[in-house]
Symmetry: C2
Subunit: 501 residues, 2 copies
């Protein structure tokens, strides 16, 4: 079943055979997740949450089956594993750690509550009603604290959660990043804002578009970037996301608000970056533990690379100008340089997903601080709205007037994901660092101008994508960059882009 | 978890708890099936077939787990089971019989091959290429013969397959139906055809429609029939079908050819009939073995009832005339009685799904004869195209010129379903018999004229739908009708409708 040249040991082959049904259940879970956000009839949530909980329990049951644990232990003891085989063992040990240490009741409860909470969050956000969501969030925080305790940690319970999403990341690690980044960004942001014109309200932000025409624009942009529609589809959901079912079946979503077209365009380009990673993973890793990416942070570096470095560049704006102008009736009213200004407005705002490159990471720093406090029981869910608003004031000088624009804006907590947000900043920083490295070999901005993305896709495939989960993220980063993550590179990138210094 | 008043015995509660993950896997399989036909990117089929096979194997593993078998045996021995509990035991014994008698390798192989074969069939039909599909069909027939042998049968191996789809149906049973039906229908059909005008080519058959307007018409028709969009959605697929994930999550599909609008309308009404059955099953049967219908034949009676008895009636045609006329620009060109003629053209044709009420069952008789011969090894897959054409000649006096219009027209064999087609005829006959029974209590044609379908839906809920799989089909039919299935009622119905006699 599995390629002998990649996985020569029969112990590994046996392990992979035992893993295959687990993979299939994960695949089914992912499809159910995609469907929940895209096409499921509203009242289907009841049965969906039962099915989803049962399948989570089955995954846990199969992973913690003595036969599986024994097979993993046998494999682990072999001394001459190749790097693919070592990757298999490493990833499965990480997964198993979760299932062995966290009791089935907790996993089941988390699965059940989050399946309901995502539905409740949607209506809470719509109705600006924090109280209806609060009991769900309290339960979710509570369960996450329990999960952290069961998983174990050296210094901080929040470490255990961070590690779930970014292998090896600690609270101290990220605190160091924040401590360099926040003052660095503050300085750049103040400078940009003092220069004035970027932050003015731009008329295109209220400019209405025809949804059908916008769908056409998005599908053309995907074609330009290199979408193969036989492997990648685009749908609509409340919160854009990517679902990588397989290297030949990836689905992304966007939303159409009917105005401020950069929102939908950049969500499409962002998700395309995620999708390309999933699409370019070595095909022979199918149905193995290696078929995912290295980490969420590395995944996010890919979406940010396409969204920010490519999508928000002057060259890309010029390359898609005709497409935009023709479909959105911009010609004669807004030229390419005006569109570029619109794409790169820097303005402290309330909503993370709409934030520009210069303010985005403040939103993450805020969530990092709040999650750290919640998990360390230094604050309660009740305190969140007020604290949220205080941090927004402190970092960006703006204050939400509604819950929907504040604490209710993100889907993540409703999905049970605490410790997830920092991966966004890791990705953002990494994207700048990767593009700097890539430009030693590729004339990136000429490629963008000429809409020739094949060399860019191939560079990413060769250096990052094809490896799947073979290497832990820190090792992969060192292989690609020859150095570790350095937040100051991102600050330099912003200076270069916005201040020409 | 499960209602104590329905399932008072703790042995049954334990059995249902063990069944819940099996239900969840079936739920996931069904969603994957729906997705395969609607939204899955083309190249996703590779991973889908692995996932689908693994999940089938898991279902089999859980059903044949000693713990589950023991729990079923314990439950079976109890003497004071109520009818719900007896239903649970009966349905699970039927399912288990399949899994115990058919070896895992066969089940896995069937799942894998059909997952590929549905894809191949689609392109084979498109390209009129029987040869590319042939090896798949040969394998599928071969596996079905093995399945029949493993399942066991009294007289004919085909009995074992018929029983899979229609509990208790035998080759002899259906032969008796065919033997009454074919001559009866021949007589009625000859009479209808000799009267001439119904069979003339109707200009509306080539009449082009705008797909977007047609989507609106279909969605209005669903609204009129009583669709709750929070529980029932409509999508597009090559072959219309219904996917009943839960009594609150049912999905139907149709197709839009761009001409001959009765095709898409009647597929929507047909699938609505299936959907209504699933939607009206007792909600407290959720995630139990009772949450399906009584049988495929009974299910088909519901789709045929809505499609033929209601949808193709003069009263319904008049009730939706304005909707059709406004959206398809028919006013002044075709009046309601002309639309009724168009909806009820009787003309021997090549395609089963386009067949009218008077010729439809000949298509099934043909498939019954061929399947019987295939499973008894009296013919080979190689012989099918020629034999198919000969039967078409004999029954209906028409002969396919392409494979696509002949042996390749149906998706069913590619899905591994042999023994399935007879359920269509059972459903068609039953629909006429049910409507006759219903009219003792409900003035059906007034209800249709006034577009007041609630009493009709309620009658069906009360008599048929809410019972789910509690009763075996023959028992349910006797409860509803006070008699068994009688093919002559259907012949009488046709005489009444088409010949006014």
């Amino acid at each position: 079943m599995y390629p002998k040249d990649l996985f020569p040991h029969k112990e590994i082959q046996e392990l992979l055979d035992l893993y295959r049904p687990i993979w299939a259940l994960g695949y089914a879970q992912q499809l159910m997740g995609w469907d929940l956000e895209t096409y499921m009839p509203e009242e289907g949530s009841l049965a969906r949450s039962i099915a989803s909980q049962e399948i989570s329990l089955l995954i846990q049951k199969l992973m913690t089956d003595e036969k599986f644990i024994k097979a993993l232990e046998r494999a682990e003891k072999l001394e001459d594993l190749n790097e693919y085989e070592r990757g298999v063992v490493r990833v499965l040990k990480r997964d198993l750690k979760f299932y062995i240490r966290v009791p089935p009741e907790i996993v089941g409860e988390l699965s059940r509550i989050t399946s309901e909470a995502t539905i409740i969050w949607r209506s809470a956000k719509k109705n600006n009603d924090f109280n209806v969501f609060k009991p769900y969030l309290e339960k979710i925080v509570d369960l996450n604290i329990k999960v952290a305790d069961y998983l174990g940690y050296d210094k901080n319970p929040y470490d255990a959660l961070l590690d779930l999403y970014e292998e090896g990341l600690t609270t101290d690690d990220f605190q160091r990043i924040v401590d360099v980044l926040v003052p660095g960004l503050k300085k750049v942001l103040d400078k940009i804002l003092s220069e004035g014109y970027y932050s003015k309200p731009h008329p295109l932000e209220e400019y209405k578009y025809d949804v059908e025409k916008m769908k056409h624009v998005n599908s053309e942009i995907l074609r330009i970037l290199g979408q193969d529609p036989r492997r990648l589809r685009l749908d609509i959901s409340a919160h854009p996301f990517t679902s990588g079912l397989d290297m030949r079946d990836v689905r992304i979503t966007t939303r159409y608000e009917g105005y401020d077209f950069k929102r939908t365009i950049f969500s499409v380009i962002h998700e395309f970056g995620h999708a390309l990673y999933d699409l370019q993973i070595e095909e022979r890793f199918r149905a193995t533990p290696l078929s995912g990416g290295a980490s969420l942070g590395v995944h996010e570096s890919q979406s940010r690379f396409w969204e920010n470095i490519i999508g928000r560049s002057k060259e890309f704006t010029e390359a898609i100008y005709d497409l935009l102008a023709d479909n959105l009736s911009l010609r004669g009213k807004y030229d390419a340089s005006e569109i570029y200004r619109y794409f790169n407005i820097v303005r402290p705002g309330l909503i993370r997903v709409d934030a520009d490159e210069a303010t985005y990471n403040f939103h993450i720093a805020l969530r990092f601080e709040l999650e750290k406090l919640l998990i360390n029981k230094e604050i309660k869910v009740d305190d969140l709205p007020e604290l949220w608003n205080n941090y927004m004031d402190k970092y960006l000088g703006v204050r939400p007037k509604t819950y929907s624009e504040g604490v209710l804006q993100d889907i993540h907590w409703s999905m049970g994901s605490i410790g997830y947000f920092p991966t966004y900043t890791i990705g953002t920083l990494l994207a700048a660092q990767i593009s700097k490295r890539m430009m030693r070999e590729i004339d990136l901005f000429t490629a963008i101008r000429e809409k020739k993305f094949e060399p860019v896709r191939e560079w990413l495939r060769e250096k990052i994508h094809r490896h799947g989960s073979v290497y832990p993220p820190k090792e992969l980063i060192r292989r690609v960059l020859g150095e570790d993550l350095r937040p100051e590179i991102f600050v330099e990138y912003l200076q270069w882009k916005f201040l020409k210094t």
